[in-house]
Symmetry: C2
Subunit: 342 residues, 2 copies
């Protein structure tokens, strides 16, 4: 049996405790400085404050001060922070990890370094200068559904297949199915992209609410039209990033499908579609972190920068450009449908 240390007790990090513990491994859930209440509550009640189901028996719960000791004595570190915690993880946790202990990250996003988009594993490697095994999880997975033991199919990506297979053995259950892929860039890019494009689909829901009434039934033609356009733009970005295989495209499509129905990105897209500007929409959702807004800004900046350099064509990304315009310049939602035709 292995020892699994999860750093970050947000929903996705915490959900990873279920398959690991159900497989009989030693599991420690370590909160960041932002997770103190989650950890206190879990220690008392055996349940995450956001979940409607208890953790499996036998998990230990820790505040961040225990991290140094626990990390030393682990077979795998799960990075469970959001994209806002990437630098915190780099500075506070990466230095503690022994080189023979692999990391499995659930953090989704990309860094934009003056037009160059970088996955988080690559960013951590570059910045830390360390030779760690940094692996990541892609593919469609909502934490609530994983906790409910809904059948879930994800991809673990990393540079070494043997390590990935070992990680797969730790986490694989009869409801958590894991593919392994050496296409880190493709998988991680696909996963980051869908976070931005899901907002585009939600815009159509809000637009119809404005036009047909807030309680009107959901319409799917417009959602599907944006879905198709999103896949086309994602495909171009995946090519640009050097995605190695078509599996990554399917990862992105599945992930987009699931994100359309997932909480905050959908909510803000609907609010924007209804006619609120970005400040008003953020105000409605106050206190919520919105990774999708950050990734859209980074993607759009990278497209614009690389378009100026002649590497990409911004005309190939009419949906992304419009979403960026809504977020950055408070442009009115006015989806450029005819630009999507060919």
């Amino acid at each position: 049996m292995a020892t699994v240390t999860i750093i970050g007790a947000g929903m996705m990090g915490s959900a990873m405790a279920y398959p690991a513990r159900e497989n009989g491994h030693t599991v420690r859930l370590v909160g960041t400085h932002l997770d103190r209440e989650i950890i206190d509550t879990a220690a008392k009640t055996g349940r995450h404050i956001k979940f409607d189901r208890d953790f499996p028996e036998g998990i230990s719960y820790h505040q961040i001060e225990d991290a140094d000791e626990l990390i030393k004595d682990s077979d795998v570190i799960v990075c469970g922070v959001s994209s806002f915690g990437v630098d915190w993880f780099l500075e506070r946790i990466i230095p503690l990890i022994p080189e023979d202990v692999p990391v499995l990250s659930i953090t989704k996003g990309l860094i934009n370094d003056r037009g160059r988009l970088i996955t988080y594993p690559d960013y951590w490697l570059e910045k830390s200068g360390r030779d760690l095994s940094l692996n990541a999880v892609g593919g469609p997975c909502i934490s609530f559904d994983l906790v409910a033991h809904d059948q879930t199919s994800v991809t673990f990506c990393g540079k070494n297949i043997r390590t990935l297979e070992k990680l797969r053995d730790y986490f694989r259950t009869d409801y958590y199915h894991i593919s392994v892929s050496e296409d880190v860039t493709g998988t991680e890019t696909a996963v980051a992209l869908k976070n931005g494009y899901a907002l585009g689909i939600a815009l159509t829901v809000g637009l119809n609410q404005k036009r047909l009434g807030i309680d009107s039934k959901l319409r799917y033609n417009s959602q599907a039209a944006i879905f198709g356009q999103s896949l086309k733009e994602m495909s171009k970005l995946l090519d640009y990033m050097g995605a190695l295989n078509l599996e990554s495209q399917a990862v992105g499509a599945g992930d987009l499908y699931v994100t359309v129905y997932g909480g905050r990105t959908r909510q803000i897209g609907i609010l924007l579609g209804r006619g609120l500007n970005i400040d008003e929409a953020k105000e409605e959702l106050k206190g919520q972190t919105l990774e999708s807004l950050v990734i859209i800004e980074r993607l759009a900046d990278a497209v614009i920068t690389n378009s100026a350099r002649g590497i990409l064509k911004r005309e190939d990304f009419p949906l992304l450009m419009h979403i960026n315009d809504i977020l950055k310049n408070k442009a009115e939602v006015n989806i450029p449908w005819e630009k999507f035709t060919y």
Copy 2:
């Protein structure tokens, strides 16, 4: 202004009357022998019995006996029959069409001729021996949403771009956006495939209803996992069929997205997932035509035939094979999740 004659007054055929008439064209809606009540009602009330919105003013409604006369004097014939009407259209309508009048077909499906899959336009050309311009509509479009003027984005495919552009001019509105593509095989295959695979996604909904209760909330991880697997299998079938471009893949993905939420295919998938066998599930939906079941059988037969010939590998289609097994051999639903991993 043009004269548009729609043959078949099912929902999708009838929905095409909206953009055409709103553009000011002369539109005649001609029912088949199965549509007598629809035509009688529309002539009296100005509304299709299945729609919640009136037809635009000025459409004329006709029983099939008028077809001969109307077809002669048309600029375009819209084929609005379901896949069950393909041979009827071949025998009754195709011989009446002048060679300079293009056809635009909304019929979705493929014929399986001893392992060779054929699109309907090709089937009509082969069987009739006539030199007609047979074009078709692909892409995500539910008739209800089109009638509600939801933003809709489709692809008209055919062998001649000029003809397609003319057809686009007839139908394009500020809510009905049309791409044109010479990839008839790719577009029509994508559109047919999604009809089968949508059933697979619905299976997971039924399985969760069985496991978690019939009123339990929708889970998306499992739907998204099947969505991703469907795209992979569809991509292999599109390659086999000789689809010309990646646009067709996006057409299929968008179309799959919309079909998951569309009526009958979803219903039968859910019933099967809940544990009914195919006969029991059909009994529940009696009187409903189920094109998706036919296309699954044809696809699966073609895969099995071509696998025996060494042209395809049936192991590449674990989802399709399982769905076929459920339909053909009354196999219990037991999705082979681990076969989807790589």
